[in-house]
Symmetry: none
Amino acid sequence: MSLDGPTMDERVPRDFETLRATILDRRESLPKRIAQIAAYALDNPDDIAFGTAASIAASAGVQPSTLIRFAQQLGFDGFTSLQQVFRERLRERNSSYDERLQALRVKAEGGAGHRAIFDGFVAAASTSLNDISRTLDDAHLEDAISLLAKAQTIYVLAKRRSYPVASYIAYALGKLKIRNQLIESAAGLNAEMIAFATPADAVIAISFSPYAPATIEEARNISEQGVPIVAITDSSFSPLAQFARVWFEVAEADFAGFRSLSATMALAMALTVGVGEKRRDAGRKRKA
Amino acid sequence: MSLDGPTMDERVPRDFETLRATILDRRESLPKRIAQIAAYALDNPDDIAFGTAASIAASAGVQPSTLIRFAQQLGFDGFTSLQQVFRERLRERNSSYDERLQALRVKAEGGAGHRAIFDGFVAAASTSLNDISRTLDDAHLEDAISLLAKAQTIYVLAKRRSYPVASYIAYALGKLKIRNQLIESAAGLNAEMIAFATPADAVIAISFSPYAPATIEEARNISEQGVPIVAITDSSFSPLAQFARVWFEVAEADFAGFRSLSATMALAMALTVGVGEKRRDAGRKRKA
DNA sequence: GGGAATATGAAATAATAATTCCAATCCATA
DNA sequence: TATGGATTGGAATTATTATTTCATATTCCC
């Protein structure tokens, strides 16, 4: 029995890393059941954070009292205070990513030097990816892919800032052997090109504010011919939205006056590869 | 009083985002104290996850019973089940950034459906951004920007998969009023275009394995004319590296056979805007 | 192999926390 | 301004959960 007063020799681990180290350190010398719960704790820290003493003990295959003895051996005065450490860990880790992004952004805004510019663009891209990952509507995605998979030719329509995305879509469709036509302005023959499109075809149109007038005009014309349009744009007020059969709202973060394209790119690739898969599946079914 | 049976009309939010949306949606119509705790909940989700009804109520300045009424209004049968949602959120977000990515990747690999494809591309893009953020060499960035800032005309050279990046660079340089020439193959006049370049100009060349032969060939020719090259490529064995005055190694993650472009894009934008800034500074100094 | 020290299991107990209930208050409407 | 309904506060009640206790088992040393 040890009756040392309120100030004990052994320091109680206050943060998770210290705790982890302490456990690992003593691992050898722990009694069987205590070691069992120690291993469980390091393997399933989330369960310790949220579970009740009884539920955790059951999962780990020990008695609740063992769990408490484990906590006491580590210097805590009970399970509850041990649990605090595991909860604190979640609190901190949770914010770590956003904080890192925030730090990057602050550095980019405040800092001088060109590294700051680079960090700014990375932060903008990360933010955009994060956003779209949260907000993308699965049903829209399915609709858009079905629509495009049925098309004889997929026309790809985008100007200026959105043009790189269009050119990547065209490249990817080509690699997947899906017939497509990029509508670019070089030769000034857009109107003629568009005239070939029929309701059996489909369009992917991409435009962000300020909407390139040519893109809008061409989208209007082509939709009047009955060609279904899948639009990627930045708000429900976008003129593109009104012509589109399916449309996606993509909010890209910007930096130094240039918006990121990463979220749009990810969506564009998902559409392209999705169409490729859908066609392959349909092909297989037809053969079988 | 509503005595509707076990199947109630209103769906109980099962995940945090739905819950958040529901709260925001009803915000107007909520009674004062309930609204108070609603605001608190959205502002301090961690506290809801970890606190007790009493402690949370005290922090939010209401009675515990109000907290329970709030939960019930949302369709939960008590505070405890509301709290589950807040805990689940932490479990999922818990993941340090890498773990979250891992989750996304697992979802993309395991999951069927087109959402999985989308998640895969988002994961690839995030990974790439993460990598480049860690590995980019500040000194290289400075060197490249200095080199490009001195150029009379910046030639931009990329084919196939890298072409979208080149077109974005050209767009951005244009917006910044920096003279540039995109070398595309449409008219088959690349050789002639390249012949105009002099050592007072500079080139940004982008190529990834499998390196487009045309890009390599053109890079060789232009470097033999003494025009300095900044290259973005994917390994030190890249044929581009040997012609380049400065070169960046960018490792893009891939998914479904298509590599991400997000890291390359971020670097490209940093170069572009960096050059813009450098020229503006130089201009100011010359005037002063 | 015997005995002391240590570890474990299971149930009793104490504590803490969620929920309910009812009276008081507020608010809209006639 | 009176009245009914909704909202709120606070204490009582019920539930859940952590902790303690003690009997039993195991281990280690002489």
